[in-house]
C-alpha cells in the first residue's frame, strides 16, 4: 500500500528510544526524512539516525528539552532549512512521576505537566505556524488511555495526557481550514524502556486487561501513527485512536 509518504519530512520528539524511535524508523521506512528531538544526544540517538540512513533517507538529531519553548521553534526551523520542507510533526516525548495526590510534591506535578503538556504545546504551535502558511501538514500527539480513563497514582500524568487530547481537538478545529490534520494516538501499556522499570505483575495485569491478550510493542503504535500521517487518513482529524489491544473501552 502506497501511503504517499515518499519524500516527506518529519520531526518526532522523544525519538531516541521506545515508541518515538519506532515511529521515526517507521516513517523513514515509508520514505520520510526524519529529525528526532531528545534531551540526550548519545549513541542510542545516533543508532536511530543510522537506521534511518539504512533505509535511504536523511536523519537528524536535535538536542533539546521539549519544555523549552524557544528551542522548539528553532528545531522546527532547523528541519525546514536542513530538509527543505516539513510535513509531519509527532509529539511523543513524555515523562511520568507517579504518586498518590496527598503525597505529590509541586515539583512532581509541575515537571510532568510541563514536559508532557507544555512540551506538546511548544511543538504543536511551531508546527502550526509552518503548516498554516503552507496549507498542509500532519500533527500526531501521542497521548495515553490513562488520559481517557484516569489512573491510580497518576493525577499528574493522566492530567497531562487528557490535556493533550483536548489540545489535539482544539487545534484540529483551528487548522482544519488550512488542510492540516491533527490527531492523537492513545496507547495502553507498551513494552518500552519506561515500562521496563515496572514490576512484572503490573505488565501481566495490563495484558489481562486487553482482549487481544498482550500489551503493545512500540511497532504497534508506530504503525498507527504512520497511517495517520499518510494520505490515507486525509479525512481523519480531531480523532483519538486507542492502540491498546482493547485494554480500555
Amino acid at each position: 500500500m502506497d501511503l504517499g509518504l515518499t519524500g516527506k519530512s518529519a520531526l518526532v520528539t522523544g525519538g531516541r528510544t521506545g515508541i518515538g524511535a519506532a515511529i521515526a524508523v517507521a516513517l523513514a521506512g515509508e520514505g520520510c526524512d526524519v529529525a528526532i528531538v531528545d534531551r540526550v544526544h548519545d549513541e542510542t540517538a545516533d543508532t536511530v539516525v543510522g537506521k534511518i540512513a539504512d533505509l535511504g533517507r536523511r536523519g537528524l538529531v536535535i538536542q533539546a528539552d521539549v519544555a523549552d519553548h524557544a528551542a522548539a521553534h528553532e528545531a522546527i526551523a532547523t528541519v525546514v532549512t536542513d530538509f527543505g520542507r516539513l510535513d509531519i510533526v509527532v509529539c511523543n516525548a513524555g515523562i511520568n512521576w507517579d504518586g498518590v495526590i496527598w503525597k505529590m510534591t509541586e515539583e512532581q506535578w509541575d515537571s510532568v505537566i510541563t514536559v508532557n503538556l507544555k512540551g506538546y504545546f511548544n511543538y504543536n504551535q511551531a508546527a502550526a505556524n509552518v503548516f498554516k502558511d503552507q496549507r498542509s501538514g500532519k500533527i500526531v500527539n501521542i497521548s495515553s488511555i490513562n488520559g481517557l480513563r484516569g489512573k491510580h497514582a497518576q493525577t499528574n500524568y493522566a492530567a497531562s495526557k487528557g490535556g493533550e487530547i483536548a489540545l489535539t481537538k482544539s487545534l484540529a478545529r483551528e487548522l482544519g481550514k488550512f488542510n492540516v490534520n491533527v490527531n492523537a494516538v492513545a496507547p495502553g501499556m507498551v513494552l518500552t524502556e519506561m515500562a521496563q522499570d515496572l514490576a512484572p505483575e503490573f505488565i501481566h495485569k495490563a495484558a489481562d486487561e486487553t482482549v487481544l491478550g498482550r500489551i503493545a510493542e512500540s511497532q504497534d503504535i508506530a504503525d498507527a501513527v504512520v497511517f495517520l500521517c499518510s494520505d490515507r487518513a486525509r479525512h481523519i482529524t480531531g480523532e483519538v485512536i486507542k492502540v491498546d489491544g482493547g485494554q480500555y473501552m
Binding site: 503552507q134 496549507r135 478545529r173 481550514k177 488550512f178
Partner: protein, 146 residues
C-alpha cells in the same frame, strides 16, 4: 460552498458556488462557456453571449492592474470593527474585473492607479468557521506562504 465567500455573505446559493471551494484551495477561477468559449470574471453560469447554461471553471493567473480605489471610513454592517479599510477595483490580465481589499503586502502610501497587483486567494485565519476571500497584493505573492 458560496456562503463561505466574503466577510459577510448575502448570496449563499448560486450556480457558481464551487468558486468558493476553489478559492479555499488557493485557486482563483473564472467561468468559461462550454458551448462558445466566452469567459467571465466574476464567474457566471449562464453565458451572456450564447445563452448556454453549461460552463466550467478555468484558473486565472491573478495578475492585474489597479483601475481605481477608495478608503472606506463609514462602514456598513459587519465591517464596523475593521474600518477604515481600502478596496480597489482591479482589471485582470485575462479580462474581467475584481473588487477586493488591499492586503498586508501593499502599504497604503504606495497605492497608485495603474499599479500592478496580484489577486491572492485568502482564508480568514482566525475565524472558527471557514470563510474565504481574495486580497490585492504585491506581484509575486502566493497563497501558500511557504
Amino acid at each position: 460552498m458560496f456562503k463561505w465567500f466574503g466577510r459577510v455573505n448575502y448570496a449563499p446559493f448560486t450556480k457558481v458556488g464551487d468558486f468558493a471551494q476553489h478559492l479555499k484551495d488557493g485557486r482563483l477561477m473564472a467561468s468559461r462557456c462550454k458551448q462558445c468559449g466566452a469567459t467571465s470574471f466574476p464567474p457566471r453560469a449562464d453565458c451572456e453571449a450564447c445563452l448556454s447554461g453549461e460552463f466550467e471553471f478555468t484558473e486565472l493567473s491573478g495578475r492585474g492592474r489597479l483601475h481605481t480605489y477608495t478608503k472606506i471610513v463609514a462602514a456598513p454592517t459587519g465591517f464596523e470593527d475593521v474600518a477604515p479599510y481600502t478596496v480597489g477595483v482591479v482589471d485582470l490580465e485575462e479580462g474581467g474585473r475584481a473588487v477586493a481589499w488591499f492586503g498586508e503586502s501593499i502599504p497604503e502610501e504606495s497605492i497608485e492607479i495603474d499599479m500592478e497587483l496580484q489577486v491572492v486567494p485568502r482564508i480568514f485565519e482566525e475565524l472558527e468557521e471557514i470563510r474565504v476571500f481574495y486580497s490585492l497584493e504585491r506581484p509575486g505573492t502566493t497563497w501558500a506562504k511557504t
